[in-house]
Each structure stands twice: as structure tokens, then as C-alpha cells.
Amino acid sequence: MIARALEDEGVEYIFGYPGGAVLHIYDALFKDCRVPHILVRHEQAATHAADGYARATGKPGVVLVTSGPGATNAITGIATAYMDSIPMVVISGQVQTHLIGEDAFQETDMVGISRPIVKHSFMVRRTEDIPAIIKKAFFIASSGRPGPVVIDVPKDLTRPDATFEYHYPDSVKMRSYAPAQRGHTGQIKKAARMLLGAKRPVIYSGGGVVQGEGSELLTQLARELNFPVTNTLMGLGGFPGSDRQFLGMLGMHGFFEANMAMHHSDCILAVGARFDDRVTNTVSKFCPGAKIIHIDVDPASISKTVMADIPIVGPVQSVLSELLAQLADLRSKDPGLPDADALGRWWGQIEEWRQAQGLMTGRRYGDSDMIMPQQVIESLYRVTGGNAYVTSDVGQHQMFAAQYYPFDKPRRWINSGGLGTMGFGLPAAMGVQLAFRDMQVACVTGEGSIQMNIQELSTCTQYNLPVKIINLRNNYLGMVKQWQDMQYEGRYAMSTYEDSLPDFVKLAEAFGHVGMVVEKLEDLDRAMAEAFAMKDRLVFLDIFVDPKEHVYPMHVAPNGSMKDMWLSKNERT
């Protein structure tokens, strides 16, 4: 019944791992199910792969795991998806109904354990409810503010000898769940007026624009008004990264010009972003002169940390299209809006910041006799023509990738922003590669993160997934080391393991892949090109980078504002 419902739901892949409680389901998948199943090597990887698939395609990722350890192993991946609002349906096996609560073999209270990190969860109590529950799960996971949904299925309710009439519902109606369909017209009109009166505006857009398919409308709006745009880590690609109007990422490791523009702005249009602590720095000092318009599908995201002057609850697509119409209407009556002179002065100021300290224009990273990590990302950008799907793990490499690989399209940048899950990159890349077999998929990682799910090299062998792993190897847990440099006088507590790192080339080869070491800058582009030329092979590029390098800019904390940044080890604003 589950297998058939997944077929009817149009599921493309199931990521999972079998075990006692789900064997009936696996048998059904094996016997007659058109949906291919991808066998991972650890359940956490199943969730990340489904997550990567969902981020790249916009469709919910589907996971199937067994009870007990299968379920608990999936938790980190569910939390990752929850924090970044990624649609996912996780089906977990459960011990037989009569054993629940008896501490049976491989029993765990999955609904209980996952409660704080799911959008919703279901415990199946009657077999005949399964199709309706699956339909509801997909609807909840992918509507409103998306998120993971868990379905816990006791084994006895999947017995093959019990037969029931199967009916997969066409639609779902739930009295207690009705996500906003459109924004409030009065509020949108107010927002349009405020935007047209702004003298120093900034558009601050987040993951909601990417997930809510609002990129085109947002880009149109920014271009029509000639407003500068900054993206959050999750929002990269929501506005073309190589566009002149793009100020780069904002926040803790945001671009100088983006953070400066935010701080000095008089009007911020926040779209699908949630003013999280990695963006705002000290909330009480956040953008003192700015009026804030906040568009989000989740009312709880609005005025949670920073008060919005004009809150608009609704899906970004419908709100932005209505906003565009309102703007056009107001401008047809007064073509002088927005004030071109004021905007010209504002752009002049922004250009000054950009020329002085911009990562792409003014400031460059230092010289070294080793490869600089930023150079690796720049090489990746050159070789892939900026068109790759890039997944990342968590740490310095993640920030370098976010800074130095301008994404022109949404859904190309795939990283764990909210939870910050090391070990995300490789399995996520598998999900992306399965979704887009012919595209270039790179996993930018570090030797710390990659070892957290290194076993997935085996899955890549089994399904012939030619992911390119770009390992920025500095022999340290780089971001931890950076903080220890800055705040703990260079005491590297447990952040190094130089003598115990594996030979990644041999390791890759052991799984049947290609491994390459790059130590010199002059070899970098060639090795990168060679790796991507091997279209049907997974290549592990182990690139030795300068361990002394830090990620800059970096917000001064605690008590700093948006404009308080370290620009290098000894310069700050």
C-alpha cells in the first residue's frame, strides 16, 4: 500500500536502508514498485540525499528507514531539513503495535524523538489509513513553509496477507492546516509606497525566495527599481550572483558592501528571510535607520527577532507579483518614483564600499606559497563556467564557496545553513546527481566534514554517481581553528588530526573512484579541468590549502552591529 501510494504521488526516488520493521515494505518495493530505491550506507545519508534532491528539484525528498537505530540515525538529517525548511517525507518502521511501549527489539519512540524537528508527524494506527496519511504528509511537507514530515508505521500494519481496498485521495482537506495563499492587499500597497519613497533601499532575500520559486519575480522587481540586493547564505542564487546589483551575501561572513548597505539603509525589503543571528549580529543594533518590510509565508518568522514595520504574510510568488503590480500602478501615476537622484547617490556610496573592500573588486586574500582556499573556489567557478550544482559541508570551505562562487540560478547552491550539519555535502550531492544525471555536481568540503559521511563513496560506486569532491584540506577543523585563533589565543583544542588523516587518493581508489592530490597553484586549474572531464567518474580532489587562512569579513561579536567587521587578522571597521 505504501509502495503504491508513493508511485501515485509521483515519487522519483526513495532513499533508504532496510531493516526488520520495514521488510514487508521492502518486499513490496522489490516485487512491484516503479519507484527506484537508493541504498545508502547510513540512514543519515539517506535523509541528506533526499534533502539534496529536494533542494535541487523543489520536490519533496523521500526516505525509508527501519525502526530504532534506523530512525535515530535519520534524526540529524531531519533536523537539517527542518532548519532550512526543506520538504521531506520520512517513513520509519516501528515495532508491531502490540509491542509498542514494551522496549521491544529496535523500538524507539520515533514520533516523540522527532517531534521538535518535524513540521508534523503521523503514527499509523490502521492499515486502511495509509494512503490518506501519505497524501497528507506530502501536502504538509511541500505547502506553506515546507518542512519534513515523519510517518511511523508499525510492522503489523504492513503485513502482505492483509488486503484492503486502496484509494489514493486526489486532494487533502484539513481543518487545522491552512497555509496563507496570498498576502494582504492593503499591506502590499503600503509596502509599495514605502519602497518608492526609499532613498537608501536594500533588498534582503533568503531561502524562502529559492524554495518558494520567487527568484524571477524578485529579480524583475530589483531590476525595475534599480535596488541593490543581498542574499542570505540560504538565499544565494535567488538573485543572479554575477549581476551588478548584487552586493554578495550578508551576515557574519557577508560581503563588506552588503553589511554596510544594510546598516546604512533607510528601507529594507526582507523576502523569505528570517533575521537569524548569523545575519543580524546584535539585534538591538541592527540597521538603526531602516524601516522594515517583511514578506514571509510563515507568520511566526515575522517580528520574531527584529520588528517589522510592514509585515506581509503570504507565499513570495503571489506577494511579489502583487507588489510588482502595485508598484507599476503607483509609478504610472508618478513616474518620478523612486527618487533617481537619491538612488544614484546611494549606488555611488555602495560602489565606494565595493571598490574599497569588496571581495570581488577591492580586497583580495593574501599571498602564500600554498594554494589559498579562495583560489580553489575561483578555479571551480572557472572550470564549471558557474553552472555547477555545488553542495557543501560546514566550515570555512562553506563560507569560501558562498563568497567566491557567484550563483546565477536558484537551487544550485546546496548547503546546511540553519543546522550547520557537517557530513551533509556528499550525500546531498548524491541526491542532486540523481535528480540531474547530466549536470556537473561538486561537493566542496574539508577533511573534517567529508569524514563524517565518507562511507557514501560506496553508494556513489553502486549507483555510478560522478560527483566531484573538492576537499579543501588544511589539516585542521578550519572554522574551529579560526575561532581558537581569534578568541582562545591560538590554543587548538582538539581541532587538529594531521597525523591521522587517511590517504584520500587511496581511499577513493579503494571504492573504485579516482583520487588526485593538488599541492601547487599552477596545477590547480588543470587538475580541476581533468576531474570534470571525467564525466562518468567520481573524482576526489584532495587540495592542500593554506591552514593559516581565515574567513573574512567576519562580524565583530559580541555586541557588534552589521557594520562592525574584521576585514583581516588585524583590520577592522
Binding site: R115, P116, K119, M123, I140, R175, S176, P299, A300, K304
Partner: protein
Amino acid sequence: MRRIISILLENEPGALSRVVGLFSQRGYNIETLNVAATDDPTLSRLTLTTKGDDLRIQQITKQLNKLVDVVKLVDLTEGAHIERDLMLIKVRASGTAREEIKRTTDIFRGQIVDVGPNVYTIQLTGTSDKLDSFVRAMAGFDILEVVRSGVAGISRGEKVLSL
């Protein structure tokens, strides 16, 4: 400020734990909690009291509304409302104390619902404030046990919380 939030909740296993879990997960406090089925067996009515400034209360109600099992909710303290807490209190009552306790109970319009040779069990309903005052008034006696139901509440007038 103290708030009374009343919720219509799907009468499903696990629904209550979602509400309670939300409070501990996000660092909010529940001061009292009361839950029971309504006339519609598919719905429970849950009433809780909590404290916080306007912003926090707004965030609490938004987060509660996001729970799929929450059908509807109202902050009763936003308008005129009736709140009732039920208390059962057992006190040692012997000698001259018996008469004094009886008098105090009458003043608070409580009832002695169980009598033993040495104890009274008193039932009292009213606002939480009233029950607190009664407990204070009993301070001079030997209180053996206190049980309170937590606040249940309803809006005054025509306003109703229903589907």
C-alpha cells in the same frame, strides 16, 4: 503579563505532547494547564496560562498556530472572560481549628466535601487569585495537601471559540 490561552486541539494521540513540547523547546513557561474533550469528541479544549510581554505572547500564539493539531486558539486575556480554577485542599482540623476553618471556608464560598475526625477536605472554585488568597488564609493551619485543576476559561458574551 499573565495570559490565558485557550486552544481547540485535534483529539489525537500525541497532540498534547506537541503543545507542551513547544513550550519547553522554545523556552516558554506553562504556569497552569488544563485539557479535556469537548462536546465534539474529535476536539479537545486546552487552556493554559503563561507569562510574557506582548512580543513573547505573540510569538507563542504564532508558534502554537503552526502546529498542525491546533485547530484554533484564542488569548482570552485580550477580552472580557471568565476563568475558573478548582482546588481541593486537605487541612488538619481538630479542636478549635475546626470552627475557624469552617468559617474561613464559608467566607470564600468553599465547601467542605469530606470530613474526618481530624481532617477537612475543602473544595473551592474561582480565579487563581482567589484560590491563592484562600491558601494564604489557611497559612495558620496545617495544610496536608493541595490539588488544583489549572485554569479553564471562556470568553464573556457572544464570542465563542468553536469551528
